[in-house]
């Protein structure tokens, strides 16, 4: 809006200046006209004074030469008119700024001298030396003419002066007008340019906003697509159905930190291998999103495949570590193992993962051993198999770090988790995993994704034994 403000200011200053200047100069010019008119009047009076003197002289000389009274008429008229004319002359001169000149007084004196020494002797009935008198008369009249000429020169100078003043006033008006016009054109051009620039800027802004909007929409769309894919992957991966087994009970839950980040890279799996053994894996991929989901899928697939093709849990982890290193995947923590429904034995190995919890009937729950580097970080990482001989009714709880690190106090987190496991095991709830999660986060903020998988040995060993025999 600044250029418009500037234009307004310039015009606001310009218009009064031009008007005032115009009025001022108009006054000058009007004055010049008045003075010119007065000058014209003064010159008329001045010429009248000259004419009357010449009329007087002509009359007198005519009469002197001819003695014809015809010449006395003009002489007498001029004689009557000259004094008032010479009386008016100083007033007219004063009006045009030529006051107090001795010339007027000299004119009157010269005429009086001429009348006395030339006209009256020549008009007398008997003239003596006409020629001498006429010579003297010519000299006197010349003096009169000279006075008039000087006076006229004064008047012409004054006229010139007035003309010059009027001309410069006119020049000033022209200059003022031209300058105003130039300034107005300048401001107009500047304002148009400015407006164009403003317009261009606005247009630029609009285009940029549109591009931004489009990009946001695209990002949003991409995000939606990614989220849909990731959600689908997550749903498909995480919520794989758990086996139903006569001697083993399973429960599992996966709770993302938020609906926005539904894909966390956590997973769990339980797969029957033969009649008595179940393979279990649970893990966590560093980060979120599709990439994490892809790594999760790869790790989980590799672990399952490696386990199904044989080998103990440590060998499985070693193989998968190598595969992940080769594919330059993200860091993965995992626990992989087998539960044997016949012998009540667990065998497992961990890779950078928190320890499994074992809850046996009539005992305090305990954290089992853990160790081994995360998968996909270091060559030659070593993993150890942990074997746990357990009892009927025992419950193995596997979980991701979100279940213990929610307060960033892992020591307190372990106590909370152990308490949650005990409470959940005592409830009649079949879905122990969900119960554990609910117990942990009762009155707490869920800070990270949490996956929990529980595997329970049946309380009736006879059923298992019978089946084994069968």
């Amino acid at each position: 809006m600044r250029p418009f403000f500037l234009t307004a200011v310039v015009l606001a200053l310009l218009v009064p200046t031009v008007v005032a200047g115009g009025l001022f100069e108009r006054h000058y010019i009007a004055q010049a006209f008045t003075v010119s008119e007065d000058l014209r009047v003064a010159r008329t009076t001045e010429f009248a004074a000259l004419r009357y003197q010449l009329d007087e002289e002509t009359g007198v000389r005519g009469f002197a030469a001819t003695r014809d009274p015809l010449f006395l008429g003009p002489y007498r008229d001029a004689r009557a008119n000259l004094p008032p004319t010479l009386d008016a002359l100083p007033l007219d001169l004063a009006k045009v700024g030529i006051g107090d000149t001795p010339l007027v007084a000299d004119l009157a004196a010269t005429n009086a001298t001429w009348v006395r020494t030339v006209a009256e002797p020549l008009l007398a009935p008997r003239s003596r030396d006409d020629a001498a008198i006429e010579r003297r008369g010519k000299n006197i009249v010349d003096r009169y003419r000279t006075d008039i000429a000087q006076l006229d020169s004064l008047l012409r100078d004054r006229q010139n002066q007035v003309d010059v003043e009027a001309q410069s006033a006119i020049n000033r008006i022209v200059v003022l007008m031209l300058a105003s016009a130039f300034l107005i054109v300048l401001v107009a051009v500047a304002s148009v340019l400015q407006q164009n620039r403003l317009g261009a800027r606005l247009e630029d802004q609009r285009l940029r906003a549109e591009a931004e909007e489009r990009r946001n929409l695209e990002l949003r769309a991409a995000f939606d697509v990614e989220k849909r894919i990731a959600d689908t992957l997550q749903d498909a991966f995480v919520q794989r159905p758990l086996p139903s087994h006569p001697m083993l009970t399973f429960s599992a839950t996966y709770v993302p930190a938020s609906e926005e980040a539904k894909v966390g890279g956590d997973w769990y799996d339980a797969v029957e291998i033969g009649e008595q053994r179940v393979l279990f894996t649970l893990g966590d991929v560093e980060g979120h999103g599709i990439e994490a989901a892809v790594t999760m899928n790869r790790a989980r697939q590799a672990l399952t495949t490696a386990a199904l093709t044989g080998g103990d849990p440590a060998a499985v982890l070693t193989r998968v570590n190598g595969e992940l290193l080769r594919s330059e995947a993200r860091m993965v923590t995992a626990v992989v193992g087998y539960a044997d429904a016949g012998s009540y034995e667990f065998a497992y190995a961990t890779a950078g993962h928190p320890p499994p919890i074992l809850l046996e009937p009539g005992r305090e729950p305990r954290m089992l051993a853990c160790g081994g580097l995360p998968l996909g970080v270091m060559e030659n990482a070593r993993y150890a198999v942990e074997r746990v001989q357990s009892v009927p009714g025992a419950l193995l709880v596997l979980y991701t770090d979100g279940a213990v690190e929610h307060s960033h106090d892992v020591v307190a987190g372990e106590d909370v988790l152990l308490g949650a496991v005990v409470t959940a095991s005592r409830s009649s709830e079949r879905d122990i995993a969900s119960r554990i999660h609910a117990n942990i986060f009762e009155g707490r903020q869920v800070g990270d994704d949490v996956a929990i998988l529980t595997i329970g040995f049946g309380r009736h060993p006879a059923a298992g034994a019978a089946k084994r025999i069968a």
């Binding site: 923590t333 320890p355 853990c370 580097l373 970080v377």
Partner: protein
Amino acid sequence: MNPAPTIGVIALSGELDLARRTELQEVLRLRDVHASILVDLSAVTYADSSILAELLRFRADAARRKVAVALLITTRQLSRLVQYAGLGDAFAIYDDRGAALSYLSEAAG
């Protein structure tokens, strides 16, 4: 117990999580002048898995450059987290500064 001048000490403190990962990467950038490095984690109260992963990458980098690394861990919090992550397999971990430094000066020598 005389720390050799070639032992670099990187002292970290507070909660280390994803938000401080870049900072950690800066700090852990290996300085070649040191034959061995002590990473002092005694003032660290928490480290998430991304930080532990960063420490492991640092360890691998150091191993390639033949730089010995020891971790100083004095809190139960961190020693538990480090146990989860299995870092004992990759690092020399000490709960005593003197012992860590003497290990490092020996390794450097």
